[in-house]
């Protein structure tokens, strides 16, 4: 009878939402329904049954946000120079090459510019599938350049976070990116250019502790895991189980650290509405 037990066992660990097969259908970890991939794609990668938001990659994210999916990329193609000559079980340059081959990206972010509801906007979208979306010198520089571009043209900025945090293989260099980006954001803030931070599943560590929490508005998709320390580290520190829903976007909303949790279908209208509020009065 053990298979019955398995059926009623709790769902997979938080954060496990990735597509399970390469085939034509996928299984939703939220409701365990089998979904035709095509249906999922047409539904903005949100489960039609339970509304679970599947992760989307950076390219698709940009297509979903910009008007007609049209945008121009800029300052892409930057590559890490492996400042520490870092080797753990594998050499960092090998990890980079592998991630580049798998994703077609040079690092964990895409900068793009285009229109949202007819307004010019700069969007930086992080790529969680590139070494966990971790932030090293390239991500730091790319996001700083996106901020500078927004400042220069007085164009609103949206950064879409999806990151495990710092890139361990760049050590202190990774940490310094937090200071660099935050300094650039201070200038953007001084100039009263709108900056909206969209936190998606997952956003952690040095990304949460810098630009992801510094928006004029900080918004998140439903069910996204967001935090500073990872749940395992916290459990080891306090030696107790974490409450259900801990570090989900709804939890952060309740604690007062998000302005809104916005369904993927509602993102464009929400952003358009916010940008209208933030546009300088004529």
């Amino acid at each position: 009878m053990s298979w019955f037990k398995r059926e009623s066992a709790p769902l997979d660990a938080p954060g496990e939402k990735r597509v399970r097969t390469e085939g034509l259908w996928v299984k939703c970890d939220g409701c365990r329904q089998i979904i035709w991939k095509k249906d999922l794609d047409q539904n903005l990668n949100v489960c039609p049954t339970c509304e679970r938001h599947f992760r989307v990659d950076a390219q698709r994210r940009l297509e979903l946000l910009f008007d007609d999916g049209q945008f121009e990329v800029f300052d892409n193609g930057l590559r890490s120079t492996d400042p520490l000559s870092f080797v753990d079980l594998k050499a960092y340059p090998d990890r980079l090459r592998q991630a580049q081959a798998e994703t077609g990206l040079s690092d964990a972010v895409i900068n793009a510019t285009g229109k949202l509801d007819g307004r010019h906007i700069v969007i930086s979208a992080m790529a969680h599938n590139f070494i966990g979306g971790s932030m090293g010198a390239v991500v730091g520089e790319a996001i700083t350049r996106a901020i500078e571009r927004a400042l220069q043209h007085r164009t609103p900025l949206l950064v879409v976070s999806a990151s495990g945090g710092a890139r361990m293989m760049e050590g202190i260099v990774s940490l310094m990116q937090m200071a660099k980006i935050s300094a650039a954001l201070a200038r953007l803030d001084d100039a009263k250019v709108p900056y909206i931070s969209l936190l998606t599943d997952p956003t952690y560590g040095g990304v949460t502790a810098s630009f992801a929490m510094l928006g004029d508005l900080n918004i998140a998709e439903p069910g996204a895991l967001i935090g500073f320390a990872g749940p395992r580290v916290i459990e080891q520190t306090i030696r107790q189980k974490l409450p259900a829903g801990f570090q989900r976007s709804e939890f952060l909303l309740q604690k007062g650290f998000l302005d809104a949790v916005v369904h993927r279908k509602e993102l464009r209208p929400y952003l358009a509405r916010a940008l209208n509020f933030m546009a300088a009065a004529a």
């Binding site: 010198a137 202190i172 260099v173 500073f228 320390a229 580290v233």
Partner: protein, 360 residues
């Protein structure tokens, strides 16, 4: 045996013999390195054992040198072996160096923030609380006089005994600690006083309450506000500079590091657990992450290194404070000559050009 002695060995035989011996010794040297690199804990004693082994190998090389005579091929073999030995020696040194520094940075007798405050300042008046949640004793803030000038002092404070360690939460601040620090900095800005911060933390506290109260937001806000604070700021890493929890009081005009302090994105143990899936590989991780003051200066991430008394700051708190005083005075004088606008421009340039390691 006796018969062979009389005949001089042929060149080929000498070369082959030396090659065989050199190979064996090379393997021994490699084994010595493996012993160190695979050691879990107590790496210091293992490393000195390995160094003794290398000395033995060195002696045998000297003996082989006599055998090789003028045989070119044999000499080349020995030369290569010698170089291999040097490499292993350097590897062993590097491997243990960063961890040795880590242990100094965490030394229980090392001067803590308030030990420096006591020696460097007069009229220290602590200010408490973040005006929202509570008073985090892991973070100490206060008004102080430094060579006659009013300054704001901020820093993480470790505890000496169990009771104080507990009260200070092992110098791992909660969000209210960072918010108190920011409040202190804004107060300094309002009245035109420089901010001197002292960094000594394993990191921001990874607790349930810390997450509920927005640890990430508190750190992020400090980074942005420190970047645009309109008064001079100097941050000094006096012990452990642990990740975002350290940076949250270390975005400054000048960042200094004590000679035996460390500054890193994650603790060596944490890095080892993630990257090597084995926390015991902490010395490997310490080396790989480049966390010493010398490493950070080479990477352009700190502006100066403050020397320590012989053997480390724990040996002489007064002298450690005196050496820090010299450097702080020098840096503060340089900053005092700048107008607020110049100060802001230069700070931005410094932050903007930090850690630029990319191409394309």
């Amino acid at each position: 045996m006796r018969a062979r002695r009389k005949e001089p060995a042929s060149d080929a035989a000498v070369a082959a013999g030396v090659r065989y011996a050199a190979e064996l010794l090379g393997q021994q040297a490699q084994a010595a390195w493996n012993m160190v690199s695979e050691a879990d804990g107590q790496s210091d004693s293992i490393a000195s054992h390995a160094q003794r082994e290398l000395e033995q190998i060195e002696k045998q090389i000297a003996a082989l040198d006599a055998v090789a005579g003028s045989n070119q091929e044999a000499r080349r073999q020995l030369h290569n072996l010698h170089q291999q030995l040097e490499t292993v020696r350097k590897q062993i040194h590097a491997h243990t160096h960063a961890w040795r520094i880590t242990e100094l940075a965490r030394h229980p007798q090392r001067p803590y923030m308030l030990d420096y405050v006591q020696r460097l300042f007069t009229d220290f008046s602590e200010i408490h609380g973040d005006r929202a949640f509570g008073d985090d004793q892991a973070m100490v803030c206060g008004m102080a006089r430094y060579h006659g000038e009013e300054v704001m002092v901020i820093g993480q404070q470790k505890g000496r005994d169990t009771k104080e360690k507990l009260a200070r939460n092992w110098s791992m601040p909660n969000p209210e600690g960072y918010r108190k620090a920011l409040r202190a900095m804004k107060l300094a800005e309002k009245f035109g006083r420089p901010v001197l911060s002292f960094v000594d933390t394993l990191g921001a506290f990874p607790g349930l309450g810390a997450e509920e109260r927005g640890q990430g937001e508190a750190i992020a806000r400090n980074l942005r506000e420190m970047a645009r604070l309109r008064v001079p700021s100097i941050a000094t890493v006096i012990g452990e500079g642990g990740s975002g929890g350290a940076l949250a009081i270390a975005v400054a005009d000048r960042v200094l590091m004590l000679q035996n302090a460390i500054y890193s994105v994650i603790s060596p143990e944490g890095c080892a657990a993630i990257m090597w899936r084995d926390a015991a590989k902490k010395d490997l991780a310490a080396e790989a992450m480049k966390i010493t003051a010398d490493d950070l200066q080479q990477l352009g991430c700190v502006d100066g290194i403050v020397p320590e008394p012989e053997g480390g700051a724990q040996n002489d708190h007064d002298e450690a404070a005196r050496l820090l005083d010299v450097e702080l005075q020098k840096q503060l004088r340089a900053l005092a000559s700048l107008s607020p606008n110049e100060l802001m421009e230069r700070r931005y340039e410094r932050l903007r050009s930090l850690a630029q390691f990319f191409e394309g």
